[in-house]
């Protein structure tokens, strides 16, 4: 390296390394802005087209009980839905009563549902209507299993969009043994056994 001329009138020499650093800094800033902008832009182009929510495919569900225990929310966002069109309105409902029920009444010891969310009401002989109180339902799937085993299968589990937080990864979907939890566009509404149904707002 050549000898440095200590020139007080020109203090530019020691300034060079700093300028290099500044240049690097500006370059990095530009790179950072560019990458942030491209991530935003790319993600936004997809967001404008669609909006995904979690839903359970009722034909794949095996009622393993994990919906009730794995959802990050205190009371699971998975609720039982009743497809009235498919219901037989039976006196001895496979989803309401325990398998070896003695008396067909609303006594707690006869009921399958651990939270008493499934309600039974008399319509006319011999038909009874069964309604699900979604606020009490914890998504355990016992009634679904019973209805499927000795009934028409008109009860099935589904994710309630009002409660579901729409996590980036549904904790239940990670442990679902049947891979039944999928993402569908939110405009399609709920995935019920009889097809998609958009809720009335």
């Amino acid at each position: 390296m050549s000898e440095k001329n200590i020139d007080t009138s020109k203090p530019k020499q020691p300034a060079k390394p700093i300028n290099r650093r500044d240049f690097l800094k500006s370059g990095l800033r530009a790179a950072a802005f560019l990458s942030l902008a491209s991530i935003t832009g790319y993600s936004l182009t997809k967001s404008m087209s669609d909006d995904l929510v979690w839903q359970i495919d009722p034909n794949k569900c095996v009622q393993c009980g994990r919906c009730a225990t794995t959802c990050v929310l205190n009371i699971s966002a998975v609720k039982c839905m009743h497809i009235y069109k498919m219901c037989g309105y039976c006196d001895l409902c496979g989803g309401y009563f325990k398998p070896q029920v003695k008396n067909l009444d609303t006594a707690a010891e006869n009921q399958l549902c651990p939270t008493k969310a499934l309600k039974r009401s008399f319509i006319e002989t011999p038909y009874y209507q069964y309604d699900v109180d979604q606020e009490l339902c914890n998504g355990c799937g016992k009634c679904v299993k019973g209805c499927g085993a000795f009934g028409n299968g008109s009860l099935h589990l589904q994710i309630n969009h009002n409660v579901c937080k729409n996590c980036n990864q549904c904790a239940i979907s990670a442990v679902c043994p049947a891979d039944a939890i999928i993402r569908i566009p939110s405009r399609k509404g709920y995935l019920l056994k009889t097809g998609f149904q958009v809720p009335k707002t």
């Binding site: 309604d131 009934g151 969009h161 009002n162 980036n168």
Partner: protein
């Protein structure tokens, strides 16, 4: 009998799917004229809350940046962080957060069919932009997790660097691991292993609650253990902060090297002035060149060591986990009786298909671990290279990368007091 049950369930469900005559119990015709109700489908929540979250985030970041840079008020920072805990933590129950948004963004980049909500992009990008502008004011108190750790840190103890330096490697590994696992669709480890969310949700696996309690207890003495040694978003923020336009300073005016702020930082983020001769440029240049040559070696080593782990990492992915279980069943000639195994056997899927899928996932992990490890090697090499950067620091400055702008050092600086006194004397508030 259980196998029959599974077969029955799948068979019956497929039969029952056709309405009417295929049903076991036919739909009744009510003579009393009763009309069956419609299946109750509740409309989703409005997005109002989520847009409000973004607005509050912007507001909080702006206020915090003002408190850190302009007003330099520890009190302001403190109360803003209390507000963050209340709003983002308690009212919004800790979800959504910017730290977890890494998972969403990764998924959005690597999975063609995933659509990231606009609010999530906002939660990812906005703190990064504010950090490029103003430094890590997000960490100061807008991030409710950082705010919680700040609150419990009542007896800060300085960690020796032989402890803190190796531990500070973890966030890089965590970030690379999180991106790899999220991109491959295996798991979202940032959200799953967040120690604080369990307290806000009042619901978490026991292990996570214990982990959270440990972190908070540790946080009484060690400043911000999650932020320093775990937070993956902090890695991105530290990068942005290193190149930020503005940054918080300990002194409001100029440093007088009084050393009073020496031990004031609870997270040891103050860069002290270095008192050495700049070394001989020959030796320096030689070392720099050798480090540049070693850089590809580090990259390769990093990639190589990480790729050794691709198999166990891949078992985090559910397909590979199931394939391992089925393989174990075949080898030991018995069934595991787990839900996954039962459902798989009842589904009728070919085992060969499962193994092919699992192999495909493992290939992705092989490539991912090579890439991730190389990146880690690159970071390590760069950090070594930076030792060759001559530091002409004469003042006490916060470390641009790791300072979280908490402002706890402000009160130690006598210049601050002097400035405040002159301000009040001259009537400026």
């Amino acid at each position: 009998m259980t196998k029959l049950k599974y077969f029955l369930a799948t068979f019956l469900l497929s039969v029952i799917y056709q309405l009417g005559s295929a049903q076991r119990f036919p739909a009744p015709e009510f003579e009393s004229g009763h009309i069956p109700p419609e299946t109750q489908t509740i409309a989703p929540r409005g997005l109002g809350w989520e847009y409000l979250d973004v607005a509050v985030l912007l507001l909080a970041l702006s206020i915090m940046s003002w408190f850190v840079l302009k007003k330099r008020s520890r009190k302001g920072i403190f109360w803003t962080s209390i507000f963050s805990i209340l709003y983002f933590g308690i009212i919004r129950v800790g979800c959504v957060c910017s730290v977890g948004s890494i998972g969403n963004v990764t998924l959005s980049l690597f999975q063609a069919d995933y659509v990231i909500p606009v609010t999530m992009i906002a939660f990812f990008i906005i703190p990064l932009i504010f950090t490029i502008l103003f430094g890590r004011t997000f960490c100061a108190g807008v991030c409710f997790m950082g705010a919680v750790q700040d609150l419990v840190n009542i007896r800060p103890v300085s960690l020796p660097s032989w402890v803190s330096k190796p531990l500070s490697v973890i966030p890089y590994i965590y970030l690379i691991l999180a991106v790899l696992l999220a991109a491959s669709g295996a798991d979202f480890i940032i959200c799953r292993y967040d120690p604080f969310i369990g307290f806000f949700r009042m619901n978490a696996p026991l292990g996570m609650l214990i982990f959270g309690a440990v972190i908070l207890t540790l946080g009484i003495f060690v400043g911000r253990p999650y932020c320093r040694f775990l937070c993956p978003y902090g890695v991105l923020l530290s990068w942005m902060s290193k190149i930020s336009f503005y940054h918080t300073t300990i002194t409001p005016a100029s440093c007088i090297q009084c050393k009073l702020c020496d031990n004031s930082c609870p997270i040891d983020a103050i860069n002290k002035p270095v008192n050495i001769h700049p070394e001989n440029s020959d030796k320096g240049r030689r070392r720099l060149i050798s480090l540049f040559i070693l850089l590809p070696v580090f990259i390769f080593l990093g990639g190589f060591v990480s790729s050794l782990l691709y198999k166990p990492l891949s078992t985090i992915h559910p397909t590979v986990k199931l394939a391992e279980e089925i393989k174990w069943e075949k080898e030991n000639n018995k069934k595991t009786d787990s839900e996954e195994s039962k459902t798989f056997h009842a589904s009728g899927m070919q085992i060969s298909q499962l193994f092919t899928d699992a192999g495909h996932v493992q290939t992705i992990f092989y490539a991912g671990t090579w890439l991730g490890g190389s990146l880690l090697g690159l970071f390590f090499g760069i950090s070594l290279l930076r030792t060759s950067v001559v530091s002409r620091q004469t003042d006490y400055e916060p470390n641009r990368g790791s300072c979280v702008s908490c402002g706890k050092c402000f009160k130690y600086c006598p210049v601050q007091k002097q400035v405040a006194e002159t301000d009040s004397k001259s009537g400026v508030i």
